[in-house]
């Protein structure tokens, strides 16, 4: 099987995956023990108003018809309206209001570990069994065991009293003056000063979100580096008399990246799941915060739409991972089948 056939097969398999997730979301929301209408109305529920909401949501139709409608709506991106969080606003608009902050946070959360975790791991792999290697590895292990939300709480404490904890370093007035936590202003984000300000506000949250991946990237980077370093073709390159720099960058680095691909994409799951907690701690009103509030306030149609988008995002990233594999590693498709 050629690697592109393999990739095409993965693309086709994504359809039942998305369908399953969307169906499950439907059954949780519309066939579960909670009536969406009474969840939306909360205290104000009267039989009359419940009937109205039922009609508007199409809940008076048979379940299978609701199901077909829901699936068709979702797959054609008719995400419906928000009911409680921002009443009578299209879900699409609400999500667009909240998404930019999470996207900025996620971008930094992917980049930070890449630029800290991988170099540290490769450094440890270059100098195995030294003090630096041991402290980097041990630090990574402990770091990984810490719950993200607790780390966020701790980081808040340290940064809000940065003079006391960081030897007189003043985080609040570092580069640009901002608060330690809070929602960044996303208007005029293309202005450099505004971008800097928003990034600085969001950086602690990104650091926390990226922390688990940072530890993983470091550990796996170290092993991959060690494995590649001791492989035959590197020895061959050394025997040819190639300079050390060329060996490291051309022969070791590229191959050591392969096992890191799934770690980087697995981060997406961590990002989507962790955004709820981290955004709550840092007071950032992004997508995770929106989802949590939509569920807790009974805005189930909105939370269903969000869940559909999350599923799309995760499946998309999985496909991207396979695409990267296909591009980076020519062996894909020859070894495994599925």
């Amino acid at each position: 099987m050629s690697r592109w056939t393999y990739f095409a097969k993965r693309l086709v398999l994504a359809i039942p995956v998305i369908l399953f997730g969307t169906s499950l979301t439907f059954f949780i929301i519309y066939a579960g023990p909670v009536d969406p209408a009474s969840a939306i109305l909360g205290q104000k529920a009267t039989p009359e108003r419940i009937r109205q909401v039922h009609e508007q949501l199409g809940l008076n139709q048979p379940l299978w018809e609701q199901y077909v409608d829901f699936i068709v709506d979702m797959f054609t991106f008719k995400l419906g309206n928000s009911w409680v969080v921002q009443p009578n606003t299209p879900a699409y608009e609400v999500i667009m209001n909240f998404a930019p902050r999470t996207i900025l946070m996620g971008a930094w959360a992917v980049l930070l570990p890449l630029f800290i975790g991988i170099p540290l791991g490769f450094y440890a792999g270059l100098n195995p069994n030294t003090l630096g290697d041991y402290s980097a590895s041990f630090g990574g292990i402990v770091w990984r065991a810490m719950p993200n939300f607790w780390l966020a709480v701790m980081l808040m404490m340290v940064l809000s009293q940065s003079e006391k904890f960081l030897l007189g370093f003043d985080w609040e007035n570092f580069i640009v003056s901002t608060n330690v936590a809070g929602a960044p202003d996303m208007s005029n984000i293309w202005n450099f000063h505004n971008f800097l300000k928003a990034s600085k506000l969001i950086l602690p949250a990104s650091l926390v979100l990226g922390s688990a991946s940072m530890g993983n990237e470091m550990r796996i980077g170290r092993t991959a580096f060690l494995e590649v370093k001791n492989s035959n073709y590197v020895e061959m390159a050394r025997a040819k008399g190639l300079p050390g720099r060329t060996i490291v960058w051309k022969h070791i680095f590229r191959n050591a990246l392969i096992p890191l691909i799934p770690v980087i994409t697995a981060e997406a799951t961590v990002l989507v799941g962790g955004s709820v907690l981290v955004e709550t701690v840092f007071g950032i009103n992004g997508i995770g915060w929106l989802f949590f509030n939509a569920v807790m306030n009974g805005d189930l149609p909105l939370s269903g739409a969000l869940m559909f988008l999350f599923i799309l995002l995760l499946v998309g990233l999985n496909i991207l991972q396979d695409f990267l594999y296909t591009v980076v590693d020519p062996r894909v498709g020859f070894e495994s089948e599925g």
Partner: protein, 494 residues
Amino acid sequence: MPSETDQVDSTLVQRIRQNPTPALRWGVVMAALVLVELGALAGTVMSIPWDVPVNAVANAVPVLGDVFASVASVFAAAGDAVANLPTLLSRELIPNRGYHVPGEGWQNTFMGLEPKYAWLLRVVLVYVYAFVFLYWAWRGYLVFRRHYRYADWTPTDDIVDRFRGHTWGQFGLVLVAVFLVMAAFAPTVSPVTQETNIMQPYGHNVTYYDAEAGGVQTVTVGTANLNSQSSGQQGNVGPWTYDSYDRFHPAGTLPSGKDLFVFLAYGARISLFIGIIASAIAGGIALALALLTSYYKGLADMTAVVMSDAFSAMPRLLVLIMLVFVLRDTWIMQIYSGAFLLALLFGIWGWMGLWRSIRGPSLQIVENEWITASEGFGEKPRRIVSKHVAPFVFSYLLIYLSMSLGGYIIGAAGLSFLGLGVTAPTPEWGRAISMGQGLITTQSWHISIIPGVAITLLVLGFNAFGDGVRDALDPKAGGDGDASGEAAAAGGGA
């Protein structure tokens, strides 16, 4: 000839009968160890809410259900009776609750010791007992291996011996054991019981010496709690201090004035319950699927791949938030304050990484000749996989189970940090972190910091244990496993 087959097929009982001394020596000590703690042991068993499944069955099945319920009630009565037996390490034997009368010293405590030391003595005794017990159980395995096992050597011996030389893995095992003991002996290691301090503070009293009134006074625990709150500037009862009612708080108090150590000890129960049950469910699904797909391959494997992708495509923490909200008023949320529901959901959304990690090894094992051979003998597929494949796959599963267990504990703590999941007032570590979040920069820092450290240590312990098992199973693998297993351990971002 007959004597030879006798020896080959002799059962364990026969072998013990032939050479009873080592077994007897071990058994006597073990019996003594069990006897002194029989009451506590039964107490732990009885603290599981048995009535919930029993009532469910009794309600579901008309006549037989009633019979079942009455039989169960006999067991419950017997269990409670055993649970009330005096035990060596009970609170009553070494009481730490007392009050200080100037000039007369401490009243009601163990031998007039300060409550601090009385409590410490009890905790040290509990841990000494528990570790002696665990060591003796391990000795039991060694005795069996040396005197009674038919084979002189099995491959498992090598794995066990490699683990004995793995300091990091043993460190993890000890950390896990420390928390397991804390959970099992929660009523004994706590300075006061959960019942008096957290569940029904207004139904219990506390006696103390009031200097102004010049005598011994009695108030309800609830009133005392109100005056020993840790809320930053307004008042603080830090770790390792006494409050104004002479109550000792090893880890300080919560903003509500309740004891943080009691909260932690009983919270360990909930966390470990969720972690272990969820692991059992996820591991069971993963193992069953791995056996099924590796044996039948083809369509079965394809279906499992799609199912696994489908479940992983839904972010676990967010689905759980949704499900816990939707199921909040149902009967399943009532079981063990919602911990059972959490364990179930974490299990259902936890098998994918495990299955993917053991799929490779199980596919390899099925390729072996002995599988073809047993097929040739006409053995049933079920027997083949359970007898010839499962034991090999199980050891791999153990590695990833140990790592994902930490993820479930972190996930459950994250949910209760958000105010979901385990319902108040049942202790859950994440809720303590959320209670102390606003006070972390004040002198009441302990409320958030200590539970967080506890989670980190417990998860670290499970991860280290997993590392040790992996190195013991496969010394060649050396460093790290594959990335999907690593990602499975990350806890879905909580």
